[in-house]
């Protein structure tokens, strides 16, 4: 398990067999989105994982920079033959994914 907390976003990384889980707590905005992208780059460079899971249940805020991070990560995973799963979205996060239509592009699970 790797725990990283910077700038108001805590990222906890856990290996789950073939999958890697990143649990996000706090705010995903222009300040913290680069932290998440950097963490994803670290994970993908250090493992062959093809199943990345973002547990977003702990997010208290997400804006377009956060949504763009989800899109960029999804594309990175597709390029390496894998996928990104968005898990445990709160009503607020789910609503933003729905109104932007991203719920059809991203794999959103309970």
């Amino acid at each position: 398990m790797f725990d990283e907390s910077e700038n108001g976003l805590r990222i906890t990384t856990t290996e789950l067999g073939d999958a890697t889980l990143l649990a996000l707590q706090g705010e995903l905005d222009p300040l913290t989105a680069p932290d998440l992208l950097a963490r994803v780059d670290d994970v993908l460079s250090q493992s062959d994982t093809t199943h990345l899971v973002f547990d977003v249940g702990g997010l208290t805020f997400i804006d377009s920079s956060g949504l763009r991070t989800l899109i960029a990560t999804k594309r990175s995973m597709l390029e390496r033959g894998g996928d990104l799963e968005i898990r445990n979205a709160t009503m607020k996060t789910r609503r933003l994914l729905e109104i932007t239509g991203l719920d059809t592009f991203l794999q959103v699970t309970p």
Partner: protein, 152 residues
Amino acid sequence: MTDWSTADLAERDNGRLEQHQVETDDGTIVQMGLPASPRFLRLARLTGASLGADLGLSLDEIEDLRVAVDELCAAAIEDAPAGSMLQLEFRTSTSHLALEGSVLGTWDEPFVLHPVAAALLEIVADEFSLDQQDGRRSFQLQAKRPSHDANG
């Protein structure tokens, strides 16, 4: 003459944070000066949410307002010159909340809102505009008071 109460929130190497608040006959005016850095966006969001709650917005409407304030402030400070400040003025009245923001600076390229940000703003903001000219990037936002209150 306006009787401003002033609260200095903090002092940073790259700028001074200031907030002024005054009560008017039908609402509140809050002026803020923040360093043009993502680090301070949450202060703008918090102020917008607080005033939105005072206006009687629902939880979803406050969340929309929080996102709209964040998106416009983030757009205004994108690639802003080092040391520049984001100036904000929130005004509430009996019918709506208005926000004006601006950053002074010189940008090499015309400003283009990212498509995801534009799509989000179209949904969460009642009315908004964003402009860049004459060494100034500015925006306006308006959130209307819920119709059920107006009718009630």
